[in-house]
């Protein structure tokens, strides 16, 4: 351990706020990116499932192609 106590570890001889602000921002943004990406994939799956359940008849009909664009939610 490079520090004598937990308190010294937090304070880091006055550099604590700088160091911890960086680590906070890093984990916040990387975590948000991971969660957003996971939710995006889940919502695309849910959307596909809804579409398949709601229009099974249309898929089998000989009518021309339809171009439904799926928009994943960006929340």
């Amino acid at each position: 351990m490079a520090f004598d106590s937990f308190g010294a570890f937090i304070v880091m001889e006055g550099h604590g706020p700088y160091v911890w602000a960086c680590y906070f921002m890093f984990f916040l943004l990387m975590g948000a990116l991971a969660l957003w990406s996971l939710r995006q994939r889940r919502s695309v799956f849910a959307q596909q499932r809804r579409r398949m359940n709601s229009a099974p008849a249309r898929d089998q009909s000989p009518a021309g192609a339809s171009f439904t664009r799926i928009e994943p939610s960006h929340d």
Binding site: A2, F9, Y18, V19, C22, R41, F45, Q48, I70
Partner: protein
């Protein structure tokens, strides 16, 4: 060789491989990051000149490293899109651009916060910092251009051209600390030389760089899978996958 290349272009094949790789990438990546950051924060010795503020290096260098290499990977994928019209290459570019933007922002943010106690200023318009800011804008440009063109093929080509034009910025970032006078210190790792810091400092740094690489791999697989699902929604294998209850 051509067979591998052909297979790589198949979204279905990629989807399967990505699903197998993802748990490994995530957990090994997280373990390496926790080890590297924990070691760097609590156990690595203090820097004799910068004190404890240098501990920001354990996330600053991985973010900056990845921010540039993600752009290089995008440039290779852009070239593949233009030359071979491989769809998966465009899927890659679209999937990783937001990740690259976040990493570039983190490199800039952690750099600015590190600059305050070390240089006495948050920001200075010198070559390294300015070229990194340009990289951030390039990422924004790629994201915006990709979203603005709805036709898949035109969008793929336009984005690939923009990525390839922007690649000129990468050597500028890399050599900015050597070509111009700057407050920024030279590169920590060089392929040809031994690191200038002791092992207690560079080993945890290497661990967190590797860890972030693997986590980036996980994010890439995840985001590419989403993009593939959107694009291939009408194909039979995606319908089967959805019916099988994947998520």
């Amino acid at each position: 060789m051509w067979q591998i290349f052909h297979k790589l272009g198949s979204p279905k094949w990629f989807f399967g491989i990505a699903s197998t790789l993802m748990p490994w990438l995530l957990w090994v990546g997280l373990a390496l990051m926790v080890a590297g950051i924990g070691w760097g924060l609590a156990f690595a010795p203090q820097d004799y000149l910068q004190g404890n503020s240098y501990r920001i290096i354990f996330i600053h260098v991985p973010s900056a490293f990845l921010a540039q290499s993600v752009y290089m990977m995008m440039a290779v994928a852009g070239l593949v899109t233009l030359v071979w019209r491989m769809k998966l290459a465009d899927v890659f570019v679209k999937a990783v651009a937001p990740v690259g933007a976040v990493l570039t922002f983190l490199a800039l943010f952690t750099g600015a916060v590190w600059g305050k106690p070390t240089w006495g200023t948050w920001w200075i318009w010198d070559a390294r910092l300015t070229s990194m800011l340009i990289l951030l804008f390039l990422y924004f440009g790629v994201i915006a251009l990709g979203a603005a063109i709805s036709d898949e093929k035109s969008s793929a080509r336009a984005v690939a051209v923009l990525v390839l034009v922007g690649v000129v910025n990468i050597p500028i970032i890399k050599y900015s600390v050597e070509w111009w006078n700057t407050l920024h210190q030279p590169a920590t790792f060089k392929l040809t030389e031994k690191p200038s810091m002791p092992a207690e400092m560079w080993v945890p740094l290497l661990l967190s760089v590797l860890g972030l690489y693997l986590i980036f791999g996980w994010l890439t697989c995840l985001r590419m899978q989403t993009e593939i699902l959107v694009r291939e929604g009408r194909t039979r294998w995606v319908k089967e996958l959805v019916q099988a209850g994947g998520n």
